[in-house]
Amino acid sequence: MDVPILLLAGTGLARGAIFAAFALALVLIWRAARIANFAQGAMATVSCYVAFHVTALTGNYWLGLAAALVSGAVLGWVVERGVMRFVDRSNPLAAVIVAIGLVMVLTSTLAIAFGADYRPMPAPFPREPIRIGDVAVISPYSLFVLAVVAVLMLALALLFTRTGVGLAMRAAAFAPEVSRLNGVRVDRMRTLGWTLSAAVGGLAALLVIPTELGLNPHAADLLFVYAFTVAIVGGLDSPVGAVVAGLAIGVILTFVTAFAGATFAPIAIVVILLGVLLVRPQGLFAAREARVA
């Protein structure tokens, strides 16, 4: 078999970019609220259903994309203000368990409202690769994904390093009491973190679904697990770790899928997780005390 290494690498990078974006959404909430948002996959799926229907109604992909961002933001706001705010903060597992409850509520509501069928999600650009001579290089859709994620990363980097709100969000995440003493409204920053994170998560899920089986209430389950693996490898505290680990795992999984079949990918993830945790429990990047008990 003639292996299209270049195509696989490009597809893998695009996939990895999506994982990185989704992992970044996890990092955003972790840094803002010290909560690992297990509901992020389900929340992103809700955004994708909104986007799907907006696109179906208007015939315009871009309106759907905007709707995913907006509905994600709204959902993040609602979840933080309506639920997470009331969770016992002294219990480190409480937020995870409540998030699991949200997953169950959101996915079952979607299944009751729209059924469990896979719906094909339109892609704005062809997924067939561009060929140079005989060599398949990369698909326009992969290029689109890479561009969107690059813009997203840049925007987030600018937000956090160049703006007052970004500074306030970072300060509130690292040192809530000191930030309050400096007039930062820490609870608003937390809400903002959720809002931003859910918008990013919705966008990432919207990008990945055309490359998977289609839209379904559980469409983002595996995306969440992949992104969570990325976070374990890269560190929930580290945006840079999320990006690097995301790209790496995207490429690895794409090659695994090409050589061993798509069903093997979830096993590969468990093997990677077990391997990393058994061999280097502190992660592949700098030691992160945050995840060690």
């Binding site: 297990f38 016992d88 969570f228 096993i267 997780l273 995840r291």
Partner: protein, 376 residues
């Protein structure tokens, strides 16, 4: 967890009796703190429950078997979460390990023409060993991890299960799973009871064994070490406890209990398939633990009963309502998930000590009222 911390502390203080085994059916006598007393309570409870099987029709005995199988898993999980603060979202995977371990062993033995007690007991033993071994591996990988990371790891494992069964479909039967050839009820009983009733007996015995052993564990030095590690890892380490070992041990025990639960399910349903141990089911186990009352064995029993009864009740209601077929098929299963999810959120926020916490509080109130009336 704070909620369980308070619950466990209250238990230590004596106002909430340590979960004792035989809580499944009916009220139980005041608890005596000796091991012998606990065995007596367990035996009495078991006899009562087995007596109850004579009053139930085969379908209800089947449901009772399911509940007993779930008790094995929820009891293991509640000890893990409550005692060591380790959150597993993947206990369905350990149940599946037990179920497949049981199925493969039972089929192999039946193939070899072996019958009788060996065909009944050896598959259970193999199931528990397999699940414990897998639990040790996962526990070792996860023992150094905080709650959310470990939860993520176990989530990945349960989501990978269908991939495992289809990758090794020659052995594990792919999506269809395996049909399990099992030892049926002994010849002497076949005239007296239906096979469902016999299965309920087996399931109840398994659940009783798990509950007694876990209650013993809670009182033993190992159990105290687990609590020490959860409450303050650094302090535990200073007093010579190896937190890594304690956590792995707890995880292995918990997985073994879940494995026995899976084996019971395989025995009762005569099947082992990936669909039965999916993500939803795994999360249901968590719901059962939390709603029952995290860290308490009676809570694990309440939770397991809820897992069996609530979907039955929902199905009865949706069947009775004049709904179009399409709507019924969409509600089927999903409505239970919706209600369980909402319960999980509400209980965690509003009543984190769950049903058992409410019962303990109620009993305390009644007791204080009676003492007040007698004293005045």
């Amino acid at each position: 967890m704070t909620t369980t911390t308070t619950a466990a502390r209250a238990a230590d203080a004596g106002d909430a009796p340590m979960p004792s085994p035989a809580d499944a059916p009916g009220p139980r006598p005041r608890f005596t703190a000796t091991a012998r007393g606990r065995y007596a309570v367990a035996a009495a409870g078991l006899v009562l429950a087995i007596g109850a099987t004579f009053l139930l029709d085969p379908y209800r005995n089947y449901l009772l078997s399911l509940a007993a199988a779930y008790v094995c898993a929820t009891a293991g999980l509640t000890i893990l979460i409550g005692r060591t603060g380790q959150l597993s979202l993947g206990h369905a995977a350990f149940m599946a390990t037990g179920a497949y371990g049981f199925a493969l062993t039972s089929n192999a033995l039946a193939e070899a023409g072996i019958e009788g007690p060996v065909l009944l007991l050896v598959p259970f033993l193999v199931a528990v060993i397999a699940a414990t071994a897998f639990g040790t591996l996962v526990g070792a990988a996860g023992a150094r991890l905080h709650g959310p990371y470990l939860a993520g790891l176990t989530l990945a494992i349960v989501l990978a299960l269908p991939a495992v069964t289809s990758t090794f479909s020659g052995l594990l039967g792919g999506d269809q799973g395996l049909y399990v050839r099992t030892e049926r009820r002994p010849e002497v009983l076949s005239a007296v009871i239906a096979n469902e009733q016999w299965q309920a007996w087996v399931a109840l015995v398994a659940a009783a064994i798990v509950l007694v052993l876990l209650a013993q564990l809670g009182r033993s030095p190992s159990g105290i070490r687990m609590q020490a590690v959860r409450d303050d890892t650094a302090a535990a380490r200073l007093s010579g406890i190896d937190p890594f070992r304690v956590k792995v041990q707890a995880f292995a025990i918990s997985a073994g209990a879940a494995g026995l639960g899976g084996a019971v399910l395989a025995y009762v349903t005569q099947a082992a398939s990936p669909g039965a141990y999916g993500l939803s089911f795994s999360l249901f186990l968590l719901v059962a633990v939390v709603v029952g009352g995290t860290g308490t064995l009676p809570g694990a029993v309440w939770g397991a009963l809820l897992l069996v009864l609530l979907p039955e009740a929902i199905a009865a209601v949706t069947d009775a309502l004049p709904l179009p077929d399409d709507a019924v098929s969409r509600l089927d299963g999903n409505l239970a998930v919706l209600i369980f999810g909402a319960l999980l959120v509400v209980i965690m926020i509003a009543a984190p000590r769950g049903i058992q916490g409410a019962l303990v509080a109620l009993r305390g109130r009644i007791r204080s009222r009676t003492t007040r009336t007698t004293s005045t």
